[in-house]
């Protein structure tokens, strides 16, 4: 049943038309702009993005708080991040993102803890600023080794007119310049997690760089200093990336933000190059570091050997021959491992079709890793991408790929039913829907509790995981033998 590209495009068109028929007219018009097919040669994917979700459709998106606390700030390990508002937001995002770190939790590091102001009705009525002051005092008393505090605003904060900036400034003075960062990431701001990333980036700029100045003047730099930007160390991703940069001769002075410390953020302006993995969530601070401190930045992709080699060379090109040779040495060192992984798994995965729907960089970045295993991406989409993401995606996808932006639960089900991929890669909310349908699935946010997937070490795990998902005996059990084969 292999279709020609033209047939695929026609099928996609019919499929989109069919899906849109279920909606009231107004919604059908709005959703139509987000669904399409990639046409070779076009500068983007032909869909609109970063627009408000339609009410009532079961969008998969989250909110600005999730983007700031959950993604950008939460992993900074030696700071305490207060979920400021009612108890829920902090509870649901408590330790669920697998941002690995090394530290003594509760003493010098705090990532897998849930600090909340647990707003009650009186806090809504009378305001929460006094409570926030007290919370900061209590944190200083009970967690004396914390290196800073962030205030992650939940919805009510912006609605009741609290002045968390004033509280932060006051307490910063009171505690001798202790870093306290107010973040205006109320969940109703913007259209998705994405604005939360931006707000969080801006808070680093305003409250870490601009307000604090150089906190570590004694820090010795070298010509080979780089910072990893936009790696949240999910399942250890940043570690299996860092090791490669170090092996090629670079010195990684900061990780943003997985397993990162406040000092690492503070020292980042001293880097010679910022290497950016998740463009979506951290391009803002990368641009700022370039504009204000003259640190250039470069995007890279550490999924799968093809892209890793390409990226190592791209990064090396910013440095001298020593580093360029280092990159070649690293590529050569891991080549036998990569070959062994591909020899083992490619025959089992060749030609398998994949549909993705994820956030950040993954709807495009992981495509190379699948292709290294002989697999084909037949559909992809972004939870909270912008047009610049869809532009970048054109370098990855093939002509005729089905594209769905801010897909709804309904659309995604219908697309998978019709396209019948061998694997779906998406999130926890989608996982069991597709598994019930008998479609192999991997969570591509949390790596389904596996990982790392970044770097050469990660690719071995990635390949093994995709194989175990697809070639799993359970999928042969979904139909009772006494039912006639469909």
């Amino acid at each position: 049943m292999s279709l020609t590209v033209e047939q695929v495009k026609q099928r996609n068109k019919d499929l989109i038309k069919e899906v849109l028929e279920v909606y009231p007219d107004k919604t059908a018009k709005r959703r139509a702009k987000h669904l399409g097919t990639f046409e070779e040669g076009k500068p983007d994917c032909g869909v609109k993005s970063n627009i408000k979700s339609v009410p009532g459709v079961m969008t998969i998106r989250g909110c600005a708080y999730a983007g700031s606390k959950g993604v950008v700030w939460g992993p900074i390990k030696d700071m305490i991040h207060i979920s400021h508002g009612p108890v829920g937001c902090g509870q649901y995002s408590w330790a669920s993102r697998r941002n690995y770190y090394i530290g003594t939790t509760g003493i010098d590091t705090f990532v897998t803890m849930q600090f909340t102001s647990d707003f009650q009705e009186k806090d809504i009525v009378f305001g929460g600023d006094k409570k926030l002051e007290k919370i900061i005092d209590e944190i200083q008393e009970l967690f004396p080794l914390n290196h800073g505090i962030t205030v992650q605003s939940e919805c009510p904060i912006g609605l009741i007119g609290d002045d968390i900036e004033a509280v932060s400034k006051k307490k910063n003075k009171e505690y001798n310049g202790h870093t306290i960062v107010p973040v205006r990431c109320e969940g109703f701001r913007g259209v998705s997690q994405s604005l939360g990333h931006h707000i969080a980036n801006d808070a680093v700029r305003d409250w870490i760089f601009d307000k604090a100045g150089d906190k570590h003047p004694e820090f010795q730099t070298t010509p080979y200093d780089v910072a990893i930007i936009g790696d949240y160390n999910i399942g250890g991703d940043a570690w299996s990336s860092r090791i490669l940069l170090e092996e090629m001769g670079l010195r990684v002075i900061a990780q943003w933000s997985g397993d990162g410390s406040l000092a690492e953020l503070e020292n980042t302006p001293k880097a010679k190059l910022n290497v950016l993995h998740c463009y979506r969530s951290m391009n803002y601070i990368s641009r700022h570091l370039e504009e204000k401190y003259g640190v250039p930045w470069v995007e890279y992709n550490f999924f799968g050997p093809t892209k890793i080699a390409e990226s190592l060379r791209t990064i090396a090109n910013f440095f001298d021959d020593k580093i360029k040779e280092g990159a070649e040495r690293v590529i050569a060192k891991y080549q036998p491992l990569m070959q062994a992984v591909i020899d083992k798994y490619r025959p089992r995965l060749e030609g398998k079709k994949v549909m993705l729907y994820v956030g950040g960089l993954r709807p495009r970045h992981v495509i190379g890793a699948y292709e290294d295993l002989g697999m084909e991406i037949v559909g992809t989409g972004y939870e909270f991408g912008h047009n610049d993401d869809y532009q970048r995606t054109t370098h990855y996808v093939k002509d005729g790929t089905l594209i769905y932006d801010d897909v709804t639960g309904f659309e995604f089900e219908k697309f998978v039913e019709a396209v019948q991929p061998d694997l779906v890669g998406s999130g926890i909310k989608e996982k069991y829907v597709f598994q019930k349908m008998g479609v192999p699935f991997r969570q591509m946010h949390s790596w389904d509790y596996s990982g790392p997937y970044h770097g050469y070490d990660g690719f071995a795990i990635f390949a093994r995981d995709m194989d175990m998902a697809i070639n799993n005996p359970v999928w042969g059990l979904t139909k009772a033998p006494w039912k006639s084969a469909a």
């Binding site: 459709v57 989250g62 909110c63 829920g88 009970l142 410390s261 000092a263």
Partner: protein, 519 residues
């Protein structure tokens, strides 16, 4: 390089290899500017002291690692228990993403729920248009039999009026006039997830019984002999409700489980995704007005719903998540009393089997000290069971427990010699519990998945019972109610105890004389 294609190393092995441990060490030394090891050690030890505990318990504002979630989560839990029903949460959309993820991580099942996706403009102008469009979309896309509306804190802070909004949505034609859209205001800054369950349950009954928000005449109660059953917010709802159905079946009585979410969170993998499965039908929900009585398994989950039902003329019985022999005895005797039916011989035999199991194993549990945390009723049920096992529920903590619960727990302690040294902690969190486990250690801890941090830090072995359980699979499929459920809880406790003894006696030539083959 340690990774290899033949035996792929996972994160838990990979990062212990020297290339990574060196990397960690170097990163810490060169770049992190972390406090010196000695200082970390000093603070770590200080945090175990009574002095620290005093400061910790003096907290007035900060909450650390609470054992509760917010109202809207309970709202969704209640709403999915009705046939073909989709919960519609009015407010910011990120909340719904969180509830769906949270339930899916616990039940390993899909959870369908929609949001009205309110953003900044809705914050200024109100969310009416979001409601109007949202209801129309949900109705057309997912073809639900009912849409149950609740709120997030955003909608509550700006004061959106659900009743008026739903009316207007109907007038504007987003959904048919006669279509069922029960609603409940569920502000996240009041109570906890158990309050949300209560509000939605009451809201749905009110809708069907009291005239659907003034659009039809209120139903007139025509009493019959059936019994209503409310499970409350319960992580074991799948196993528990099935066990309850079996028990009612053995009694041979008419019953209605109001909010039966045991099927929708336990659907088969057979090629079909069932967005809806099972659930209390809308007809049953309306007819439940006529029941003779309603039994609530969790008093503190139904503080508003039960009085509402009582006002409509039914007898109501509130239990506290009964676990074990006496708890189940009470449940069965209440069913028997309300229905006039004798307790089935089969159940009496099961009772004997549970007592038999306890007698077989009691020597291992007797006198052991436990810390328990969880929802108020669950804590009560577990503590009651431990007392009848001769164990001591030394610390019992519920972040969402209040004064009434505190009193009730104290009465329970006072009723048993094993309760003499036990203490109840309403409104406290797991950071308080951490101090307690250091200053007044116990043998075992019972709690949800987050208890693993307490187990790691204090060395108290954790028995996972509660919600959520993310890091162990399928526990929710087992009942903890009924004598059968009591047996499950007993076995979970015993398994962990024996594992702890084995782990403590397995060093050759040192401790392994006690590494017994028979226990």
């Amino acid at each position: 390089m340690s990774q290899n294609a033949e035996k792929v190393l996972d994160h838990f092995n990979l990062f212990r290899e020297p290339e990574y441990t060196n990397l960690f060490e170097n990163k810490r030394k060169e770049f992190e500017f972390m406090p010196p090891d000695a200082q970390v050690e000093e603070v770590r030890e200080w945090a175990k002291t009574a002095e620290y505990q005093e400061k910790n318990f003096a907290r007035e504002a900060l909450v650390v690692n609470p054992a509760k979630a917010c109202q809207p989560l309970g709202a969704v839990f209640a709403a999915v228990g009705f046939e073909g029903t989709i919960p519609f949460v009015h407010g910011s959309q990120g909340c719904v993403a969180y509830y769906r993820s949270h339930f899916s991580r616990h039940f390993k099942e899909p959870t369908s729920c929609v949001s009205s996706s309110m953003t900044e403009d809705a914050a200024v102008f109100g969310g009416l248009n979001n409601m109007i469009d949202g209801l129309a979309n949900t109705y057309n896309m997912y073809k639900p039999k009912m849409i149950a509306v609740s709120t997030t804190c955003m909608a509550e802070v700006i004061g959106d009026d659900l009743n008026a909004f739903i009316k207007t949505s109907k007038e504007k034609g987003s959904i048919p006039e006669e279509y069922d859209v029960p609603f409940a205001h569920t502000p996240a800054f009041v109570g906890s997830h158990i309050t949300g369950y209560d509000n939605v349950m009451k809201g749905i009954l009110q809708h069907f019984w009291d005239g659907k928000a003034g659009t039809v005449p209120a139903l007139e109660r025509k009493p019959n002999e059936s019994i209503n059953f409310l499970g409350g917010f319960d992580g074991y709802t799948v196993g528990n409700l099935r066990e309850i159905k079996r028990i009612f079946g053995l009694f041979g009585i008419d019953y209605t489980i109001i909010g039966d979410n045991s099927d929708v969170w336990d659907t088969p993998t057979d090629g079909e995704f069932r967005m809806y499965d099972g659930g209390t039908t809308l007809e049953q929900t309306a007819n439940s007005l006529n029941a003779k009585a309603t039994i609530s398994m969790q008093e503190f989950c139904t503080e508003k719903t039960l009085p509402f039902i009582a006002e409509h003329g039914q007898e109501v019985v509130a239990l506290n998540h009964p676990i074990g022999v006496k708890g189940t005895d009470k449940l069965l005797m209440e069913i028997s009393r309300l229905t006039g039916k004798a307790i089935p011989a089969e159940l009496e035999k099961e009772r004997g089997r549970l007592v038999d199991a306890i007698a077989d194993s009691t020597a291992h549990i007797h006198g052991q000290k436990f810390a328990i945390y969880g929802d108020p009723d669950l804590c009560y049920g577990l503590a009651e069971f431990l007392l009848e096992l001769g164990a001591e529920p030394t610390h019992v903590l519920a972040t969402n427990g209040g004064k009434a619960w505190e009193k009730k727990m104290q009465e329970l302690f006072d009723s048993s010699p094993f309760g003499k040294n036990c203490k109840v902690y309403p409104g406290k969190d797991l950071w308080h519990m951490r101090s307690l486990l250091f200053t007044d250690p116990v043998d075992f801890l019972i709690g949800n998945t987050y208890g693993k941090y307490l187990e790691r830090d204090t060395g108290t072995p954790l028995i996972r019972i509660g919600f959520p359980i993310f890091d162990r699979h399928h526990k929710h499929r087992y009942p903890v109610w009924g004598y059968q459920g009591g047996l499950n809880v007993l076995v979970w406790i015993l398994d962990r105890m024996f594992d702890a003894i084995d782990a403590n006696t397995n060093i050759p030539a040192k401790t392994d004389y006690s590494f017994d083959i028979i226990r």
